[in-house]
């Protein structure tokens, strides 16, 4: 039986919530009964510096993604798209917080820009830009979106339900975080995701 595999990079700067987004998606995978592996950077590698996490859902052995193998890239800062674009496979998609110019490394990749900071600011919770971006990405590359190629392994409903009733030990997301998720999703659909 061929089981589907999904690989995504989440990149950003320390403090933007790269690990939080990754953790939510990994929890969704566990809830769906899918095998999941992630890897992340801690300690000296954080503190406002570049932060990256790898998310692999499906039958994998190791936690790291090889260059040109990721299905998707979530760039919480525009500069992270240039840093981690090399992980995307040809035909892969990138969802980037900010606006152009397009880094060269993303030629032949499908790229979506959104002002997640602005949308989060409008909601009154500037730190929720990471969740806005996740919602937007689910709108652009989730089930039912018009994208081609390999999209998310889960739907916005599954993410929302996890945020509202997280597994044991995980903190419940704030209401504003769920609003941020929906705002991002709505923006993607408004643009014709």
């Amino acid at each position: 039986m061929k089981t589907s595999r999904f690989q995504m990079i989440v990149g950003g700067l320390g403090g933007q919530g790269v690990l939080y987004v990754t953790r939510i998606l990994a929890d969704v995978a566990v809830r769906k009964g899918l095998p999941v592996l992630t890897t992340e950077t801690h300690g000296m590698a954080q503190r406002g510096g570049t932060v990256v996490s790898h998310l692999k859902v499906g039958p994998f052995w190791g936690p790291m993604i090889r260059p040109s193998c990721a299905d998707g890239l979530l760039a919480l800062a525009a500069e992270s798209a240039a840093v981690f674009g090399m992980f995307l496979k040809p035909g892969g998609w990138a969802v980037i917080n900010g606006r152009g110019p397009l880094p060269e490394v993303l030629d032949h990749r499908r790229v979506f820009w959104v002002d997640a900071d602005g949308l989060a600011m409008k909601l009154g919770s500037p730190k929720a830009a990471n969740i806005v971006l996740l919602g937007y990405a689910l709108g652009k590359a989730g089930p039912g979106s018009r994208k081609s190629g390999r999209g998310f392994f889960c739907s916005i409903e599954e993410v929302r339900s996890l945020m509202e009733s997280p597994p044991e030990k995980a903190k419940k997301s704030k209401e504003t975080a769920v609003l941020a998720l929906e705002a991002g999703f709505a923006e993607a659909r408004r643009q014709g995701g």
């Binding site: 995978a29 592996l37 590698a45 954080q46 503190r47 790291m64 090889r66 840093v83």
Partner: protein, 624 residues
């Protein structure tokens, strides 16, 4: 292991999985000193304990050596115990480790030493498995969080079967990976501590040590034949009489498996995972060398397995240059090595990683304010520093040296002696964090007092071990579970060491603090002996903005800012950034914590307190 009921899978970080293993095995005493990537092991164990109601003592110790001794003594009484640390912490604990190997243990004793190939967050890429080899104790090398949990069970079994300390060596990609992990119910051991007096073992003199060494070697001989820790063939479909074979351990084995599949080699080249790199199983060595003509070894970071396969004609790895000697074995490197090994030729997929943005001290970090004052007070000084967040002061030109825990003080002493006869002796300023001061700074300070060393010591006291996630220090007064414990004040220690100048200041009070550092510099120049300034202000990241950290200053940069960049270079606050279009510096209100220190930084006084009406202006400034 039959018996214990399995409960459902949970998403766990490798460190949480290791801690879960300790809980499941009935560990009764666990100690640690925080260090990336091992820090979350002890805090997770406390969380598991509190959720399960298990009886277990878990504590942060002052350093790894003390942590080791506490847990080891518990094992002498027949209880199960564990100590965890990062690889450089094992250097600090190496003295008791070497001896404990000879004496052995009674209750199972597990030493978790987390390595950091890369290195991502460490001074070295050293391989703890080499330390296990040197101490002559067995070491297990997990490839995933799920396997890390299982290996704790195996480690206790080995430890109690052979009465030996057993090392478990995860790497960053295990510690900080997350995976769906199946759990078991914890066992109930109900053991009671009992100390059997046996000086020929527990207090051995050299005469007894020789016989203990002999016993140790006999144990290792048996461990090299112990079935449960023997290497595992991961791809049973591969024909085992193949010419070529791959032997891997740790996360390299996981990547190796995935890549063999992707290259279509899964059914062609056998891949063994070595669970116990030392001592390597004797039969396995014979099997490899009798059956296969070429053996590729993938392991991090030293050739530990490779060294034990002493046939240089057939073994490929780090020692013949096939596997690079430095850096993390990332999957793209492994792919290339495997492709070449299988005769497929390299794909030349060399993708140069973009450097990204370097880490920096957080907005509102009191260390930044202390460094700024220090540079003003002794601009031509030599700044020895130490391990912690404040090592990032290197960005500000405030860190000239960083050797190992506590070395800021010892190196200041050495520089003083080196320049002693020099008429232009430079000012020496050592900076050390509060936790690091406790860990290894105190003996060096006493030495400096005894030798009359003139230098300034800035103890950067933010009330926590910030870099590793905010664990308490011996001065904090709370334990690993947040409950009150005793505490020791830094100034009491400093004065007790015999230091005559010891003053406390708040680095947020920029002018007063600079005056204080100048006074200390003068003392060191004129009166002689160490002058200690304790820079005290809680870490805003850990203490939160509520705990008296925020001053609520709303600052903005006025329109006459000429974009000279002085504040960006000399102060490097993440909340200050240059606007691409106007060239002026702007305050990012999302990042700014309102410490107000930058008001004193701009030489032209263009960073200003907001007027009541200026608030909107400042807020608007960030999102044009």
């Amino acid at each position: 292991m039959a018996g214990p009921r399995r409960i459902s899978k949970r998403l766990l970080m490798g460190n949480e999985a290791l801690a879960r293993g300790l809980l499941e095995c009935g560990c009764a005493v666990a100690t640690s000193y925080p260090g990336t990537p091992a820090s979350e092991i002890l805090s997770s164990l406390v969380a598991w304990r509190d959720a399960s109601g298990a009886k277990l003592h878990a504590q942060w110790a002052i350093n790894e050596k003390v942590a080791f001794e506490i847990s080891y003594a518990a094992s002498m009484t027949g209880l199960r115990s564990a100590v965890s640390m990062k690889q450089v912490g094992l250097n600090v604990a190496s003295d008791p480790l070497m001896s404990a190997a000879y004496m052995g243990c009674r209750g199972g004793f597990v030493v978790i030493s987390a390595d950091d190939p890369g290195p991502h967050s460490s001074q070295t890429e050293q391989d703890s498995r080499l330390m296990a080899m040197m101490a002559r104790i067995p070491v297990l090398d997990p490839f995933s969080p799920a396997q890390a949990r299982e290996m704790i069970h195996l480690a206790y079994e080995l430890s109690e079967t052979f009465s030996l300390p057993v090392m478990v060596r995860p790497t960053t990609r295990v510690c900080h990976a997350r995976q769906d992990v199946p759990l078991q119910e914890p066992v109930r051991l109900d053991r009671r501590a009992a100390f059997e007096r046996d000086p020929s073992r527990w207090a051995a003199t050299p005469r007894h040590r020789l016989s203990l060494h002999k016993e140790l070697e006999e144990k290792l001989e048996k461990l090299a034949g112990y079935a449960k820790s023997a290497p595992v063939l991961l791809n049973r479909a591969a024909r085992t009489e193949e010419r070529a074979v791959v032997v891997a351990s740790g996360v390299a084995a996981a990547h190796g498996a995935e890549i063999l599949m992707d290259l279509g080699l899964w059914n062609k080249i056998p891949l063994y995972q070595v669970l116990q790199p030392f001592p390597l199983h004797k039969e396995f060595i014979e099997l490899l060398l009798s059956r296969h003509r070429e053996v590729l070894v993938l392991e991090e970071t030293a050739p530990v397995i490779e060294m034990q396969l002493a046939d240089r004609w057939r073994v490929r790895g780090r020692m013949d240059g096939r596997v690079p000697c430095v850096g993390e074995l990332v999957p793209e490197k492994i792919r290339e090595i495997l492709a070449v090994f299988a005769g497929m030729g390299a794909e030349g997929s060399e993708t140069l990683a973009h450097p990204g943005r370097r880490p920096t001290l957080c907005a509102g970090c009191p260390h930044r304010a202390a460094f700024f004052a220090m540079k003003r007070a002794a601009p031509k000084g030599i700044y020895t520093s130490d391990i912690g967040c404040y090592t990032l002061g290197i960005n500000l030109g405030a860190v000239d040296t960083c050797l190992c825990m506590g070395a800021a003080i010892g190196q200041a002493s050495g520089l003083y002696q080196a320049f002693r006869e020099d008429p232009n002796r430079p000012d020496l300023i050592a900076t050390i964090g509060d936790s690091t001061f406790f860990h290894a700074g105190i003996p060096a300070l006493i030495d400096a007092v005894v030798q009359g060393v003139s230098f300034v010591l800035l103890v950067l006291d933010n009330g926590t071990t910030a870099m590793t996630g905010g664990q308490p220090t011996p001065a904090t007064g709370v334990g690993a579970d947040g409950k009150p414990v005793g505490s020791v004040a830094i100034e009491a220690i400093v004065r007790g060491c015999g230091v005559r100048f010891c003053k406390v200041g708040d680095p947020y009070d920029v002018k007063d603090f600079r005056r204080l550092v100048r006074e200390a510099v003068r003392f060191a120049r004129e009166k002689g002996g160490p002058a200690v300034v304790i820079s005290r202000r809680p870490c805003p990241l850990i203490a939160g903005r509520s705990a008296g950290t925020a001053r609520g200053e709303v600052v903005w940069v006025d329109e006459t800012c000429d974009g000279c960049g002085y504040c960006l270079k000399q102060f490097e606050c993440p909340a200050l950034a240059q606007d691409d279009r106007t060239g002026r510096v702007r305050v990012n209100p999302v990042l700014c914590v309102g410490c107000g220190v930058c008001l004193e930084v701009c030489p032209k006084k263009r960073i200003r307190k907001a007027r009541p009406t200026g608030l909107e202006e400042a807020k608007g400034g960030a999102s044009p």
